[in-house]
Amino acid sequence: MIKKYLFLVLIVLISFHLSAQEWVVPAEEGVKLSPFAFNDSTRKVGADLYNTNCKSCHGDPGKNNVINLVPPPPDVASVKMQTNSDGALHFKLVQGRAPMPSFKNILSSTDIWRVISFVRSFNDKYVQVIDTKKGMAGTAASNVKIQVAWVKEQNQVQMVISGMKENKIQPVSGAEVKLFAKRYFGNLLIDEARNTDAQGKALFNFPKDLPGDSAGFVQLIAKLSDEAAYGEAKADTTLAIGVPTYRPPLNEQRAMWNVVQKTPIWLLLAYTFTVLVVWGFIFYVLLQIRAIYKAGLRKDHETTD
């Protein structure tokens, strides 16, 4: 019995150990390559994206100032990071593995490749191989435009997509599209993925209770899923369709935990009043010592007169 348990414990330990170490990347994902060459401009955009999305955990590349998480996020310049193939990096960013978040809904595939181009700039030995088979994005249609509008009666958001095909501007039909609302942390998928109809149109049911900013504005992000076919088509639109929400910051009002300028009024009055009264008496008594002194002077006069 005991042996059996020990065996179980051992298995659990080993598998835990493995899972803690290995982050398995499927073979077909691992060989993926960037469709474009990494250059200064991709690295520059990549650096910006890194600073806003990754730096808080992974720290400054090469400085090993990562935050304290289990498992620890590796430094970008580390061997651990750089031994990943391009495809593996791409996969891990899309997928995430707690506590490393998934960037699937946050960064486009192209942006992920840009971050990778920045990551690779910390590896002198890296030589890029470009995905020539796929070529640059935009094979199905180019110059893709997404228009987002609010259909009030049905409480729906409408997307209309057009693009250049065979030298003509046409509706893009049968393409998968997604709608996101920007939240504090990441993007929230609205409704579900849809396919555009013959007019290049797709409708998304919009929830009635989605909190917007203080005026009800919600920032919407419309995306085509197949980046390889349509390029990095994306539209940011801000519409006043959320529930107006105002959440005052905790330090806005007078409170015990706030700075001295925001002391609660009752406390300010009570403290000031008490101090003034007590010190008023103290000053009065000090004046009395002066009065004693003066009275003594008069007495002196009386006796000398």
Binding site: M256, W257, V260, V275, V278, F281, I282, I289, I292, G296
Partner: protein, 448 residues
């Protein structure tokens, strides 16, 4: 205190003998110089210890992340507590018309001034960056009990000083001509400090009014000072501190410590200054009864403070109480409760133990126990935080005061003793004019 003063005593020849008695010990004697020399040499050792702390920071103490208050804050609470007796004797008992407090009131006031003054310094000893002290006034928040504490300690110190000084003025004037045996500078100090006092009825009227105001104002201030000190701990959720009776618990404890300190000083004045005519067996008897009374009240709060959490035994409280009752601090805890509270109450019920020498011994024990009581309030709670203690060096787990820390604490006590010694030696410790006036009054009554 009467609202009128019958200045008839000024012409009475008894004033002379009273003044001679009380002024005899005043001045610079050989004993005083030896004693002061001893105090100052010891103090300089403690100041050197503080220099090391100033230079290296609090790392030279046993204070770490968990126990960050330790001996210094325990000492602070002890100082504030002891200083409260000034208010108890002069104001509460004085205003209620107890005549026997008259010769004791000034002693109590000296203790109040010395301990309140040093209390502020004790806080500085707990600061890792003392040069940032002005920040309290520059950036302090009115919402913080720490700022309230700074306010009330300062106010109480000023009030106590005035309450010591103003009734002293007539004595300074009376003494002026009778100080042949003292150095010149002391005589001119008396001259300046007596602010032209010439015993006019008008001056007495002003004096009595001022003292009365002070006696009344100091009562809420003294309550505030120790209640706020208790809030520094009680506004947290920590076991042993999270208590709604912490204010009165501290206040009543303060009266025990302060009364013991007064008895010690009374014994010293009576035997060394040969003033047994003024501090009689009757005065000791009354102080003994007072000590029993305040100890009983304190015992009552102790029972509340321990029985109620021990009945509910919430997890954190259970750990805390176990530490005190049977754990690491059990021997200190039971010694303090028995020697500092239970035994004194029982002993002082007997008249024999209310005689000067037994009272003196009991009071010394009570005062030492009072210091350790504050230690027991501050340290064990901090050693048992809510969150588990982990990932820290072993040395942080338990608090062990270092030699430097102990020396600095000793230094603050020495400083208080020095202030008391100076005030005792340079000015009359027993109010001359009040004694003379009382004797005249008694004569009048017996003649009628």
């Amino acid at each position: 205190m009467a609202s009128e003063v019958n200045t008839g005593f000024l012409l009475d020849k008894r004033l002379d003998s009273i003044a001679t008695d009380i002024l005899r010990p005043v001045g610079i004697s050989k004993g005083f110089l030896v004693w002061m020399g001893f105090l100052l040499v010891s103090l300089s050792g403690c100041i050197y210890a503080y220099y090391i702390q100033w230079d290296k920071g609090l790392i030279v103490t046993g204070l770490r992340d968990y126990v960050s208050w330790g001996m210094y804050i325990a000492n602070f609470i002890f100082f504030v507590a002891t200083s409260l007796v000034g208010m108890l004797i002069s104001s509460v008992l004085g205003l209620m018309g107890f005549k026997w407090v008259k010769p004791i009131a000034r002693i109590a006031e000296i203790i109040a001034v010395a301990f309140a003054a040093v209390a502020g310094l004790v806080i500085v000893s707990d600061m890792g960056r003392p040069e940032r002290l002005p920040y309290v006034f520059m950036y302090g928040r009115i919402q913080s009990p720490i700022l309230w504490d700074v306010t009330v300690v300062t106010t109480y110190l000023v009030l106590s000083t005035l309450l010591y000084f103003i009734p002293l003025i007539p004595d300074l004037a009376i003494s002026k001509g009778r100080m042949g045996h003292t150095p010149k500078w002391l005589q001119s100090t008396y001259e300046v400090l007596s602010v032209n006092w010439s015993h006019t009825p008008q001056q007495y009227k002003i004096l009595l009014k001022s003292v009365r105001i002070l006696l009344i104002v100091i009562i809420p201030t003294a309550f505030a000072i120790h209640t706020v000190t208790s809030w520094l701990l009680a506004v947290t959720l920590r076991p042993g501190w999270d208590s709604s009776i912490f204010g009165p618990y501290f206040l009543t404890g303060a009266f025990v410590a302060g009364s013991a300190a007064v008895v010690i000083m009374m014994y010293f004045v009576r035997t060394n200054y040969k003033l047994d005519k003024y501090l009689t067996l009757y005065h000791f008897d009354m102080m003994g009864k007072l000590l029993v009374l305040v100890s009983l009240v304190y015992l009552y709060f102790n029972i509340n403070e321990f029985l109620v959490p021990a009945f509910k035994l919430k997890t954190a409280d259970a750990i805390h109480l176990k530490e005190l009752f049977v754990g690491e601090y059990a021997s200190m805890f039971w010694s303090v409760q028995l020697l500092g509270l239970i035994f004194p109450i029982i002993l002082l019920l007997f008249k024999f133990f209310r005689k000067p020498l037994p009272m003196f011994i009991i009071s010394v024990v009570v005062l030492i126990a009072a210091w350790f009581k504050r230690y027991l309030i501050v340290v064990p709670t901090q050693q048992n935080p809510f969150l588990p203690k982990q990932y820290v060096p072993d040395a942080w787990m338990v608090y062990q005061p270092t030699v430097i820390e102990t020396a600095i604490t000793m230094g603050t006590i020495l400083l208080a003793v020095i202030i008391i010694t100076v005030l005792f030696k340079l000015f009359p410790v027993i109010p001359i004019w009040e004694m003379a006036e009382e004797q005249c009054e008694n004569d009048h009554k017996s003649q009628e």
